[in-house]
């Protein structure tokens, strides 16, 4: 049995020297997830200073939060994007934006995030720091605190660098009911801007695809845009961010939830020429390509113009457009009038169009 530390006698406790984390050449080791000193050091020298807030400073295994006014929403999202860094963002900022957007599309103001990291043994600490700093910057810019977290390390070869799961909590003001089952025939369908940027930006970095593009990911936190939209059109029926599976999947999901059909016009759907060209080359359809900073809105016809104006007035909605209408259709088909003048079905995505994009 070792002697108890001399704490009661009034002499200062001498702390042992701990070599600081080597963010230049250091690597993630199994011990960083082991619950011992190495993990404590990783928290003290990386996560705590980056995310710094009163809840984290309590250094408990959980965050004790005050009860906010309003109904509480919660959403969770895991991020496994490859590559970890891409034009317009990285897995860190993406993990903040993705969950904030899932919370915000309920009409909620996002308040807190929890973050779970799965790190692969051997991953450079310098890159981890870049990711964590990027997360912290994204959260701060969005006015959301990362209040609790967890780190695990898996053996080399059992992960792909970093996986991040974030869980978000927010509050919805009284009187707002935004839900995927509220689309009604006659409602207008709007999107907040150019589609497919994120998916194409990621695609351009894939090592087996040698093409380059100036497209950057649209990864962004949408809650402020959404707040403006709700002020302009309080009776907004549905909001959803068209991430994996793109606009096509989002519209099909809402059509199924609401038991309606959708009719959209290809000419009105904003797609950048570069994205269209890249999709043409790769045999993809921009309607199925992922977005990380766009929102699809469905609202009654009488407030469509006001909603559009509010979206266009916000930097993240500058290129917003009304792209179609909700129609009656028990089959729940999404149809599109093509630029060519024909009509076609816009079906669910089958299989996967791109691996690991978010």
């Amino acid at each position: 049995m070792s002697a108890p530390a001399d704490t009661g006698s009034g002499t200062a406790v001498k702390r042992g020297y701990i070599r600081p984390l080597d963010f230049k050449n250091g690597k993630v080791e199994m011990a960083h997830g082991g619950g011992g000193r190495a993990m404590a050091q990783l928290i003290d020298e990386l996560f705590q200073p980056a995310f710094d807030n009163p809840w984290l400073r309590q250094a408990n295994d959980q965050a004790l939060l005050g009860r906010p006014e309003g109904r509480i929403v919660m959403a969770t999202d895991s991020h496994v994007v490859s590559p970890l860094f891409f034009p317009g963002g990285d897995i860190g900022s993406l993990s903040v934006h993705g969950t904030i957007n899932d919370v915000a599309t309920s009409g909620a103001r996002p308040l807190w995030l929890a973050a779970g990291f799965i790190l692969e043994e051997g991953f450079p600490l310098g890159e981890l720091k870049r990711i964590v700093d990027s997360m912290a910057a994204a959260a701060r810019a969005a006015g959301v605190a990362i209040v609790t977290g967890d780190t695990k390390v898996v053996e080399r070869g059992h992960g792909d660098g970093v996986f991040i799961t974030t869980t978000g909590v927010g509050v919805v003001p009284e009187g707002i009911t935004i839900s995927g089952d509220r689309a009604r025939p006659g409602d207008r369908i709007l999107v907040s801007g150019f589609l497919g940027d994120h998916g194409v930006a990621i695609m351009s970095l894939r090592e087996n695809l040698s093409f380059s593009t100036n497209i950057v990911s649209d990864s962004a936190a949408l809650h402020e845009l959404i707040a403006d939209m709700i002020r302009a059109a309080p009776d907004l029926h549905c909001l959803r961010d068209p991430t994996r599976g793109g606009l096509a999947s989002t519209l099909n999901e809402i059509a199924r939830q609401s038991g309606v059909g959708m009719a959209i016009r290809e000419t009105d759907i904003p797609v950048r020429e570069e994205v269209e060209a890249a999709c043409e080359l790769l045999g993809l359809d921009p309607l199925y390509v992922a977005n990380e900073g766009k929102v699809v809105a469905i609202c009654p016809p009488e407030c469509a113009e006001a909603l559009l104006a509010a979206m266009q007035a916000h930097p993240l909605g500058r290129d917003a457009a009304i792209i179609g209408e909700v129609i009656e259709d028990p089959h729940g088909f999404v149809q599109m009038e093509t630029t060519f003048g024909g009509r076609r079905n816009v079906d669910w995505l089958s299989g996967e169009q791109l691996p690991r994009i978010c």
């Binding site: 025939p185 006659g186 087996n208 695809l209 059909g261 009719a263 020429e273 269209e276 060209a277 043409e280 045999g283 209408e325 129609i327 009656e328 259709d329 089959h331 088909f333 149809q335 093509t338 630029t339 060519f340 003048g341 024909g342 009509r343 076609r344 079905n345 079906d347 669910w348 089958s350 299989g351």
Partner: protein, 380 residues
């Protein structure tokens, strides 16, 4: 988008459609087979059927490389990856084609086989260079369009002395398939498939030229118009075919003259001839065994032939009983005539190969055309 929008102009399309409507003979029907999946896809995706008069009937042909690949060949590819432990490099569409025993390359991958999706034969070579300790096999499929790149890869592997690279060749030939359709009893004597003319292959013809089709036009008295894959190309070709049929002509015409010549790409042809030779016969899904319809690797490149290197033995496997892919590929039935279409067989869970590739007749109809029978409430 430049060089694309010009060929997708809705106004021009409507003008062309009007001309076609004015010129068709209401007393007759025009049964046109679009051989290629690329045309099938364009017809469905752009809703060309809606624009054309009812006298025009499209018959979807077997020109979808993934669709005509028989189960036995996919089984062999799975055998390579699973039993021989090779890195199998494959084009994306092939991954989902159903094989025997509810298997597919994708499922084999999930079970641990090393199967990688590539965009070109050059990617497969790169993987071979990066993994000198592993056998790397390129699962080569496709018509004449994809054959020259496979030939290039074989030559390159030989030049570099890449010992761990080989090719599992499944390249098939368009003219043999067209001839097989024209000689089938349904077309030739029974007349159960009315077939008046062909919308001829576009990309394939850039390689082989328009000359190989002259025999069919002459011998079988069926007009052929080689057509590009853009929607306006297809419409213009329909007009050209209507005119030939109205005038009683059966010639090879070239609508896709911006890329196709009569002689084709002779350099590519020479390359293919250097590396490949005809197989006596090859099984096609839907068409069965077709003589002289595919290529195998020549003796001089035998050491790079995966069939030879791994002693693969071909076993023919019949299609699922309920699957109508065979009859659909021969134009005997339409996708919606198949009992399992859209119920058991969907793009997410394809039973037959026509539901796998976006170019397959069933997948194209399922994805773009399902709503056709659904009335739509007009919204102001």
């Amino acid at each position: 988008m430049k060089y694309v929008d010009e060929f997708r102009d809705g106004t021009v399309a409507r003008q062309l459609a009007q001309t076609i409507a004015a010129e068709v003979d209401p007393e007759r029907r025009y049964h046109l087979m679009e051989f290629c999946g690329g045309h099938t896809h364009a017809i469905s995706r752009y809703g060309l059927r809606d624009l054309l008069p009812e006298e025009i009937h499209f018959i979807h042909g077997p020109g979808c490389p993934v669709c005509v690949l028989p189960i036995g060949r996919i089984d062999s590819a799975i055998e390579l990856a699973r039993d021989h432990g090779v890195i199998l490099c494959s084009y994306g569409d092939t991954l989902r084609v159903p094989a025997s025993g509810r298997m597919s390359l994708l499922r084999a991958k999930a079970e641990g086989a090393d199967i990688r999706m590539v965009y070109s034969s050059a990617d497969a070579l790169k993987i071979a260079r990066e993994n000198p300790g592993r056998e790397v096999v390129f699962f080569a499929i496709g018509f004449e369009t994809t054959t020259p790149p496979t030939a290039v890869a074989l030559r390159q592997a030989r030049a570099e002395g890449l010992k761990n690279f080989s090719v599992f060749a499944n390249h098939v030939l368009t003219p043999s398939a067209i001839q097989n359709i024209l000689e089938s009893p349904e077309v030739r004597s029974l007349g159960t498939i009315p077939l008046d003319g062909f919308i001829g292959p576009s990309h394939v013809s850039t390689i082989i030229g328009s000359r190989p089709y002259e025999f069919f036009a002459e011998e079988f008295q069926k007009p052929v118009v080689i057509a590009g894959f853009e929607p306006l190309d297809v419409l213009q070709s329909v007009l050209m075919l209507v005119r030939q049929l109205n005038e009683g002509r059966a010639e090879v015409e070239n609508q896709f003259c911006r890329a196709v010549t009569r002689e084709g790409n002779q350099k590519a042809q020479a390359l293919v001839a250097e590396v490949f030779e005809l197989r006596d016969r090859f099984e096609w899904r839907g068409l069965g065994e077709v003589p002289y319809s595919a290529l195998r690797i020549r003796e001089a490149f035998r050491d790079l032939d995966a069939e030879h290197r791994f002693g693969l033995e071909y076993r023919s496997v019949p299609d699922h009983k309920a699957c109508e892919c065979g009859t659909i590929l021969r134009g005997l039935k339409q996708p919606q005539d198949c009992k399992v279409f859209g119920t058991v067989c969907t793009p997410d869970n394809p039973l037959g190969s026509c539901m796998v590739s976006a170019e397959g007749a069933c997948a194209a109809h399922y994805t773009y055309g399902q709503f056709k029978n659904v009335p739509i409430a007009e919204v102001s």
